[in-house]
Amino acid sequence: MKRWRNLAAGAAAIVLVAACTGCGGPLDPKTGDPDTLVVHSRFAPGTYGADTYSSVVAQFERENPGVHIKNLYNGDDIFNSFETARLAGKEADILLINLYDKAYSWTELGATPPVDRYLKEWGLRDRVEPRALKAWTDGQGRLRAFPWTGFTWPVLVNSKLLHKAGIERAPRTLPELRAALKALKAERIPAMTIGGNDWSGQKFLMQVMQGYMEPAVAKRVFSKGGYCAEPQARKGLRLFGELRDAGLFVKGAQGLNADQMNADYLEERAAMMPAISSTIAAVPAPLARHTEITGFPVPSDGTYDKPTVYNGATSTGIWLTPNGAEKPDLSEKFVTFLYRKDVVQKFIDKSGYVMTLRGQRPSEERPLVSESSRVTHGDTVSEAVMPDDYVPAAVSTPLNRATSLAYTRGTGVQAMCKALDTAYRS
């Protein structure tokens, strides 16, 4: 009996020691190894761009013997995870995260220091595209983080499916789009796939609505709501409803999400899809060969004279945290490394990233992404106002929910705008 008790006590002690291993370890950048830089990001293995990130981190460690990068990964919880760690003073040194949602308030609240002076002192200012600097600068003129990646968000069109319906080219005007919808319907080919139940559907609804909204009006309405009270928004929603009821979207679009949208297009079950650059990078070569890139048609009496696309510079930025600012040498080494031309080119070539840094060449391995950049920055499309830059953080999730209603056939303008306005009061 005594032997068993001793054994049980020994086992408990071993487990307790194991449980406590790692307490206050590298996750506490203040007391941890001074040669370790803790980097918190979404680049979890298996996610988009993670392989490239992993290989450049290995390269950095090879080039800087003795320096170790400790990677922490979070999915969509990264914003909350960083904030609680910051409150406890145990945040990572560097964050690789997009400017979205709560992150808009971090610099103002002192959760992250502005990086203007580091950008200058570390000689990186000339590397950044001016539009990216502008996008990452807050109302007080403080640069929130080092701009790094951006995105393009055009419309992909499967020309093989269009040809099957007797359509020669991607529709660029509303009459062409209406004719295409009729022809595709006759061939039983779903016209456009969309995640009507999530962010992808929300962005597209806003894009179509902007067909009749001047940029200044769009910025005001996205910031404060008031869709029902704004005649331009109502007109845009009427256009959306008309196209929806004419059969623009796949069946059950109001219940779909972005993953189902991607699967529909990649499996060639739908002729069109609005696609952000990370999705474009995932289009397999055979499909890419018969994929056209364009904007979404706009009304002839509307705000824009060319089909619209979204385009932005607020994807992943390199954020310095207060803990990171206490390790200036290590942080400088890593940030300047991530800005280095050959390293940036790796992200462009291998993962099809759209970077906001100057002097890089387009990806040869991902020609569709290069084509999307060329089209997006060319003179055949117009750039619509990106809602994320204006929609308040607390509203973005309710707004996604409100979007779903707009994708339900037969929903009128009043019901759509009321749902959108309600999201701003929730």
Partner: protein, 256 residues
């Protein structure tokens, strides 16, 4: 109906997104274990399972250590103080999980135990203690006084009565508490995410699996495989303990 979600998860673990969305309940074309290997490798589920086992087993040990003596005392006591303490335990059910999050976080930070498993091992039993004490107290009240009196006449003290008389007779109650607490501890997400954090070396399985999901695109085959990995221990423990619980209940019924 209970098997349908498990079937869906299992078949999805062998399919790509296109097949999952096109025919959710259809059989897979191949039985390759590639998705399982990817999920374990990408989210380091091996480490995460180990962390969850450490956290869960230690928390279960702590809860038994605290709940059994408390329930024993409450079951044998008859005064007003004991009744008030028992009611106080019952009030524990009224505290919503979210309400305790901020003070718990502050406590962890103050104690210097933020980003450690140690704090969670101490915290999780506190969340299950009300249920465990209330349940075990009821089970212990069913132990006949005559048996205890006979033991006392043979010279048994309080601890001997608890260990030799009460414990063997309330095994069904203990197993019930273990099952309920195991399910709660193993599946706990919010506090593990906030307190333990994202470090691969420490995070639990429930925090690790969601990293296989991304808002831009998700391989649902890999995610399903990861979810199946988290479910295996739950099903195994439930199967083993449930049989023991049923056996003990039947045995107890015959004795009483």
């Amino acid at each position: 109906m209970l098997l349908l979600p498990l079937y869906y998860l299992l078949v999805s673990s062998f399919k790509d997104n296109g097949d999952i969305f096109a025919a959710p309940l259809g059989l897979p074309d191949s039985l390759s274990l590639r998705k399982f290997a990817t999920s374990v490798h990408d989210a380091r589920l091996d480490l995460a399972v180990l962390n969850s086992v450490i956290v869960t087993v230690l928390s279960l040990a702590v809860i038994l250590l605290l709940a059994v003596p408390a329930a024993y005392a409450l079951a044998r006591a008859s005064g007003k103080v004991a009744a008030a303490i028992e009611r106080a335990f019952s009030l524990g059910f009224l505290i919503p999980t979210f309400a305790a999050l901020v003070p718990t976080f502050l406590l962890a930070a103050q104690l210097g135990l933020f980003h450690t498993r140690t704090f969670i091992v101490l915290f999780l039993p506190a969340t299950s203690l009300p249920l465990a004490v209330v349940l075990l107290t009821q089970f212990m009240r069913t132990v006949p006084h005559e048996v205890e009196e006979a033991a006392r006449m043979d010279g048994a003290g309080n601890w001997t009565v608890l260990v030799r008389i009460y414990l063997p007779m309330v095994v069904p109650g203990i197993v019930t508490v273990l099952i309920l607490s195991f399910l709660a501890f193993w599946n706990e997400y919010l506090y593990s995410l906030v307190i333990i954090g994202p470090d691969e070396a420490q995070r639990t399985i429930q925090v690790a699996v969601p990293t296989l999901r991304s808002s831009l695109s998700t391989d649902f085959g890999v995610l399903s495989a990861g979810t199946v990995v988290t479910l295996i221990p739950v099903y195994a423990v439930y199967a083993v303990l449930q049989r023991r619980m049923e056996g003990a209940l039947m045995g107890g019924a015959v004795k009483v």
